[in-house]
Amino acid sequence: MKGQVFAITLVVISGVATFIMFISTVDSLSLTRDTFYREYRFADVFINLKRAPESLKDKLKDVPGVNQIETRVSAYVKLAISGFPEPVNAAIISIPDDGKPLLNRLYIRKGRLADPTKDNEVVINENFAQAHGFNPGDRFAVIINGKWKTLTITGIALSPEFVLLMKPEAMSPDFKRYGVLWMSRKALSKAYDMDGAFNNVVLTLYPDAKLSDVLAQLDTIVEQYGGFGAYARKDQISHRLLSGEFQQLQRSSEIFPTIFIFVAAFLLNVVMSRTINTQREQIAALKAFGYNNIDIGFHYAKLVVLIISAGLVGGIAAGIWFGKMLGGIYMEVYRFPFLIYTLHPKVIIAAVLISIASALVGTFHSLWRAAKQPPAEAMRPEPPAQYRVTLIEKTGIGRWLTQPSRIIARNIERKPIRTFLSIIGIAVACATMISSGFFKDSIAFMVNVQFVLSQKEDMTVAFAESTSRRAIYELKELPGVHHAETFRTVPAKLKFGHRSYKTRINGIEPDSRLHLLLDTNLQAISLPPSGIVLTDHLGKILGVKAGDMLTVEVLEGSKPIRQVPVVALVTLYLGVMGYMDLTALNRLMREGDAISGAYLVTDPMYSEKLYQSFIKMPRVSGTVLRRNEVRNFHDVQAKGMLFFTFIATLMACSIAFGVVYNSARIALSERSRELSSLRVLGYTRGEISYILLGELGLITLIAIPLGFFIGYWLCAYIAQALASDLFRVPLVIETKTYSLAAAVVLASALASGLIVRHKLDHLDLVEVLKTRE
């Protein structure tokens, strides 16, 4: 009984731990985020524009609903860091000269703010500093508005605006190649000739402000100043990604613990009913002595609660420990200055209540029977189990079965529900393992399709503004550039009916070899000479299908508004975009041959020289290496992935072990008599092991393919639940994952089998002959 209780406790611990882990992590991160936002005045609305006079600030402030407002100067610069030859970019943002930003304040980790009287001091963000090992006092060079400047770091800071720092079109953060610099307004204005002007606004709203109205009014005011469209916090990239993560954690906290609690309840039910059965005589005696039904019921209920409590204590402790670890992992990517770890009492109460309730519900039937049983009946021995010739045998296989196999078959059929639930339990363990491997597999597939099959360039060079197509010849003639293709990308609002979505339209060369659009069979689709191709997810958001007319409002240049036919929808896993033939896009813009950048195939031996050339080219705003994108994606996901895989494996093992071990132990206690009898009759240890473990082995072997099936559908559900604007998870499960799941389940089953086998080997043969049942 001890072993069984241990196994059940393990399952309960796992369930409670994962529940607490996920929820406490979400709560902690939420609380940390909310505190950070509040204390450091994270803005509600953000506006980027080309240039406006400082006097416009009052007009903006007068928009009803606007509470506090701050104007800033911001830009995008290239950096040259000695010892790190690869291209590095940064967003540079102004700090008011008095050093006190009204909104989006800085948390200074080290050092101090930049001195407004000096024009070469900056504060940098912590991730960037750590990635390069920078400390206050270190220096690096930037190209600010075409001029070389050496900057000295005066401080390292964090901001609620950049909890997750990511380049706008990137797929994952790259702390080494993208950072944030904060410079005094005076110095930055001077460098960009923005004295008395601004190009960036952040503001907060009153609680009762109507967001869409405010945004519309702000847009109207800034339109003539080259406004790119005001957006709210929910579309701010750092906040958006953070919210997405929370959602995922929330979902995980719902799915996985539920599985555990069910399994635990099931196991408890089996163990309790067994225990109660074996103790019928004692129960009868107690009843005869005057204990009423309620007392009996309570007594066993207490036992259930005791077992659950042990699991709860362990689970809460483990949950807190894992929760802190998970929080730590998140903190490496999401930079809060501190992590407020919080575990609401109500979470613990919820865990306690849910566990106990499910356990009691699960065991209710047995407890009820124990309570209800008339004493006299309880005194009598349990009526013998009814066996039947099994269905399997009736099909004719019976002829081939030896008696031991027959025993297995008959036992399985005798308690079909219990057998079925055991199979389900093991299958669920298998499915859990598959779902953890699925994350890894699908992400690997996504990255492969997006970054290896669809994109074949080595570097992408982006221009500060749209540039003449002639630039491509210049790039092609750089030493080390083997091939180059142009692209144009414009921000646009796509409208269909009442739905709209702000995104980018990518114009690529029609016979592009470096950027391919792939369909679900991974075959390249040729871009039609006119019309737009949309990501299918975007198609769903807008409610369009091929053939519909889309209204495209370009947010750049002359801001034309055109009708464009949707030619096709493609399945892409990352991002939501529109694609057009480059010439068609330029036609839409009514501009000549303008390009936003180029894709290059380069010779690695010339890479550093090329980086240096690009830094010196004023019109080149940044360079991205594809290799880095891939690596970053993996790096950022890797730690989290490892953690989840570890947890999932733990879970799967504990469930598999718990279910198999329990079944084995119960089977052992129920059948030790007949097995011992067989030993007496001359059956070897191996032969009776076959009977007991063979049944378990059969259950496991049936459960594994069923587990594959359940796992597949569980992953399909997870994939669909995780779909968002940022990425869609393809349902890809490698055979390796299936094998690993099977191996883990088999190993757990084997382990419990060996333990039971050990007990079998030491059956007391003499004892069994003396007892009646």
């Binding site: 630039a471 210049e474 790039l475 091939h483 180059a484 010196k616 080149v620 072997l701 094998s739 099977a742």
Partner: protein
């Protein structure tokens, strides 16, 4: 006995199946790759730059005099013969008939007349002054000769007389000007005749000095033109050349006679051409990306039959490819198959379903293909676009 043995066998078989199925799942799968044959084919290495067309000889038809040009009905692209009349000019005709203009013209005439009278008055006054001062000068000269007046006085008188004459002359000139102005305003008023166009005018025809095609029309609607105003360009379409500003480092590879290909010229297909001049002197220019570069002007002629490229105009942009190297039956692989390993270039060769790295020596290359000097032979299969998942000995299979 047999049954027990059978059962043991059965259990062992089941275990073997399960274990091998599980292990199978772990075995590395063959990676899908694109396999390409190493083949012999023509290879071209080109330098690309944007070029612009220009008419070698351009004839600008301009208005010989000020006049009123009749509407030009010809269109750009029309061919003209030598001597064909292109433009017809009439003498400047009246402006609008509106009374206000006429009243203005009349007022101008009156004003001019008044000015003239004023000027004539001034002239009379100046003449009177001058005459008087000259007679005075005569008297003082006599007195001075006798010694009755100081030299000072004499000088003064002389200077005053001279001044007066000058004033008189200038007054006379002013009268001339006023007179001319008066005449002019009268002529203008003359143009305002109530009858309008019924008058006959003199016409002047401008004909084409050469046969060719109209390349550009500067203005086609009727109206007054000034003398010398350019009206249209005529040129011989066959005399189109392409001017390309090439980076000086690339220009060394281009010489007279280099084959040129023109793409994206507005029509289908590729045009051919030949380099005529590579200028010796370079010049500095700021590139599209903002960098100062040394460039050299290269001029090429189009050798494709002119009928094909009739639509090409003057100042059109073309994508120009200078073929700096060409070879036939060159052993080559797709450029994407190559990757660096240290200083060497390597490829992955397919060998019995496995990928094997092979060092190769690369010769000429363009964006698409690269010449293999050594390391591979014809019919070898290489992996295009090898990525990180390919390694030595990895199982590969061609993508379907």
């Amino acid at each position: 006995m047999k049954a027990a043995l059978r059962r043991k066998l059965f259990v062992i078989v089941i275990i073997l199946i399960v274990v091998s199925a599980t292990i199978y799942g772990f075995m590395p799968k063959a990676v899908d790759v694109d396999l390409v044959d190493v083949s012999r084919a023509p290879l071209q290495v080109t330098i690309e730059e944007e070029g612009r067309t220009r008419l070698k000889e351009r004839f600008v038809i301009s208005a010989p005099t000020a006049g009123y040009m009749r509407r030009i009905d010809a269109k750009v692209g029309d061919s003209v013969r030598k001597g064909q009349i292109l433009v017809t000019l009439e003498s400047l005709r009246s402006q609008a008939l509106d009374p206000r203009s006429r009243a203005e013209a009349e007022a101008t005439v009156s004003a001019a007349e008044a000015s003239l009278n004023a000027a004539m008055e001034k002239e009379r006054a100046a003449m009177a002054d001058a005459d008087y001062l000259e007679r005075r000068l005569e008297r003082i000269t006599n007195l001075y000769a006798k010694g009755s007046v100081a030299k000072d006085q004499f000088d003064q008188a002389e200077s005053e007389a001279k001044k007066a004459r000058a004033v008189q002359r200038s007054a006379k000139a002013a009268v001339d000007v006023s007179h001319a102005e008066f005449e002019r305003t009268k002529t203008t008023l003359q143009n305002f005749t109530p009858s309008g166009r019924t008058e006959k005018y003199d016409t002047l025809h401008v004909s084409s000095p050469v046969g060719g095609i109209i390349f550009r029309i500067y203005r086609d609607s009727e109206g007054a033109v000034n003398a010398g105003e350019p009206l249209m360009d005529i040129g011989d379409a066959k005399n189109l050349e392409v001017r390309v500003e090439v980076l000086s480092s690339d220009a060394v590879k281009i010489k007279k006679g280099t084959t040129v290909l023109f793409k994206h010229w507005g029509g289908d297909g590729t045009l051919t051409g030949i380099v005529r001049i590579v200028e010796l002197a370079g010049f500095t220019k700021v590139s599209s990306l903002g960098v100062e570069e040394q460039r050299v002007l290269v001029i090429a002629d189009i050798t494709s039959p002119p009928e094909i490229w009739r639509v090409l105009g003057d100042g059109y942009r073309l994508e120009t490819h200078f073929v700096v190297w060409e070879g036939n039956a060159i052993l080559q692989v797709p450029a994407s198959a190559l990757f660096r390993s240290g200083k060497e270039w390597m490829v992955f060769v397919e060998d019995n379903g496995k990928a094997r790295p092979r060092t190769v020596e690369v010769g000429q290359r363009n964006g698409l293909a690269a010449e293999i000097i050594s390391g591979l032979k014809e019919k070898d299969k290489v992996i295009a676009h090898p990525d990180d998942s390919i390694g030595n000995g990895k199982h590969i299979r061609p993508r379907k």
